[in-house]
Symmetry: C3
Subunit: 280 residues, 3 copies
């Protein structure tokens, strides 16, 4: 089995290029390339993450054994590291996957779930941040915790608004070289100098477990399809926000929302994204 060559990175990271990527161009690239996204993620969301990646058009795999994680990264178009249900052999697998990804030029996403809530979790998150993720995606409490700020949410839920964390995110991005995405009522993406905001989504999405994890995985799909970090994060958050909004309008509650969201990710296209996407 050969190591898939990484697709050429898009360099259209001017505002028009980013908007084009977020409102259809990125999605079409995911569908055309079906990137293999290698996830080391938490037990709660493995099924829903795999389904979201399939629905958007990517090819998901969940592989975490230290015996094979490095070999598997060589097949992947992107890697997603999510520390939700952390434990020792898994944190070692995460480090190995990330080192391999960095050496091979495979982009990777860090989802620092509940960073700041326990010292163990904060230390592993900090170690991973130091290994320079391509994109970091968290809620405001997680991003504040990574930056050494007040940090610490209520378990896995944020106790801070996303806009309050934006300045910290910008500094974190500048310090690490990572693109940083903060999700919340409004999502923000920054590479340290530029900032983009996405005002899609629906309040009921907070009642479905793991949609933040889905957002991180979708960023992996867009990176794996060759988008540059800002474009990948914007495209993923716009896709999830728009699909969630359309799905929520059809849902009696969070149970039906969970599945309608997968249907809408599958049915998403340039027309729907352009009609509903609220970027600035």
């Amino acid at each position: 089995m050969h190591h898939d060559a990484q697709p050429e990175r898009s360099n259209a990271d001017d505002a028009a290029g980013l908007t084009e990527a977020a409102l259809g161009g990125g999605l079409e690239r995911v569908r055309a390339t079906a990137p293999l996204v290698h996830n080391i993620t938490n037990f709660v969301v493995m099924n829903t993450t795999a389904n979201a990646l399939l629905a958007i058009g990517a090819s998901p795999a969940m592989v975490h054994a230290v015996e094979e994680v490095e070999a598997f990264v060589h097949h992947a178009a992107a890697v997603v590291i999510n520390i939700g249900t952390l434990s020792e052999p898994w944190s070692e697998a995460m480090r190995r996957a990330v080192e391999t990804a960095n050496a091979a030029g495979v982009p990777w996403v860090l989802d620092p779930v509940a960073a700041g809530v326990t010292p163990y979790r904060s230390a592993i998150a900090a170690d991973l941040v130091a290994r320079r993720p391509t994109v970091i995606r968290g809620n405001a409490s997680e991003i504040l915790a990574l930056a050494g700020g007040t940090g610490g949410g209520k378990g896995v839920d944020s106790t801070h608004g996303s806009t309050a964390a934006l300045d910290v995110a910008r500094r974190l991005a500048a310090a690490t070289g990572s693109t940083v995405a903060i999700t919340g009522e409004v999502d923000h993406v920054t590479d340290g100098s530029n900032v983009a905001s996405i005002a899609n989504g629906h309040a009921m999405m907070a009642k479905v477990t793991g949609l933040g994890c889905t957002a991180s995985a979708l960023i992996g799909a867009f990176l794996g399809a060759g988008l540059a970090p800002m474009a990948a994060a914007m495209a993923a958050l716009t896709a999830l926000g728009v699909a969630g909004e359309v799905a929520a309008a059809q849902s009696l509650g969070p149970g039906s929302l969970q599945l309608n969201l997968l249907d809408q990710l599958y049915r998403l296209d340039r027309t729907i994204l352009t009609r509903y996407g609220r970027l600035k």
Copy 2:
């Protein structure tokens, strides 16, 4: 991050107070306090348990690493221990979580899945029972096994009726100080002297995996919101039974039931509980 003070326990455990808690008062307290429920549970139900807790109004977290489990308990309003997919590092994490909860006065629920089916599982369940759970919730075969009776279901399914196990449950409660809930066609809750019964639910619920685990987690939510053990168990089982009944009436099969149940937990209120709740 501060340790959330435990809410004052309700002492309205007379019959009128219990009925009020089960038919609306408890639910309103969960929604008002959004208690953080720390679960060490099995892989099969992590996603559905988290979603049920979100739907009812609680804040779920799944944390099991021995390196952080004690630190996390200090943030929790309640802990739920479920031995469904048991293994060694997890059983050690369960013991640590329970010791920490006991020391800190955090209430905890034991779900002794498939106790009695293998010696390993029975031994760990017995060890946890000896650590005095606030509430124990199981099917009849599990409760019989805990009490050293004939015990042992068919894998995770009960081969005994819930009413047959009620005397044993009453003695188990008296011996341990735990409130014991037996779920089945009719659910029973006892603290050793008092007994309450809930005759809600629908036969199709047995075709959805892990609804017993959901029941245990919901008891955690009501304990975390400050209800006393009898009230918490009754409120949780009434909520699940009523939501399941309403959901089953809308469902073609167990797939749609699984999601309709989440929708109905989310939409549940005092009016629906009062209309459909069958307590005695």
Copy 3:
């Protein structure tokens, strides 16, 4: 707890007997016996596999601890081994379960997820094949990899058609004594001399994660109900294909398909199987 006697194997493995089993007889036996199916499977599909087994009428259990896996096999009517999210303690549990099953005459299914993609995975799959599964079920890339052919899919997805792998499957069956099922656009089942094909299913099923794993688990249910290997594989793949086809006709996307499929497995009967089943 007694060791359930294994039901007598059906020996109706002539063409008429196989068709009868696949178009209703097998399903009725599953519903009549509710076989306990012991799964050691991957984290992604545990919930959906358990729900599919319940929907078809079996009793699922997920047990993997080395401390109890052998004891549990003695209660099981069939064992399903799925290497999707492999790691060391789990591979040891798989070996122990399989040895116990072989010694006790409990039939078992191997699902060699992503065999051929990493050396670690290929080695464990080869070791399990050498222990003579009753049935092996994989996609074409996995079956080719097991046979030492070109092998290796794109992560967990096949890069080969099922028909292309049929000759290899027939030789693998002849060499190992296992019945081999290759699933894809058309499913094929062979015991080395006979071949049956099932042309049911729907393209959207590839957008729901883990339906191959569901297929393997359902084969376990039919084996556990006493069907011979060819009959069990044909009955399971027909049931899943027909239920999936009916479900897809009602689904807007893969989210609703996932749950409609469970509903249709639950509602499946001889009339629906006979009307939609496409066997040859």
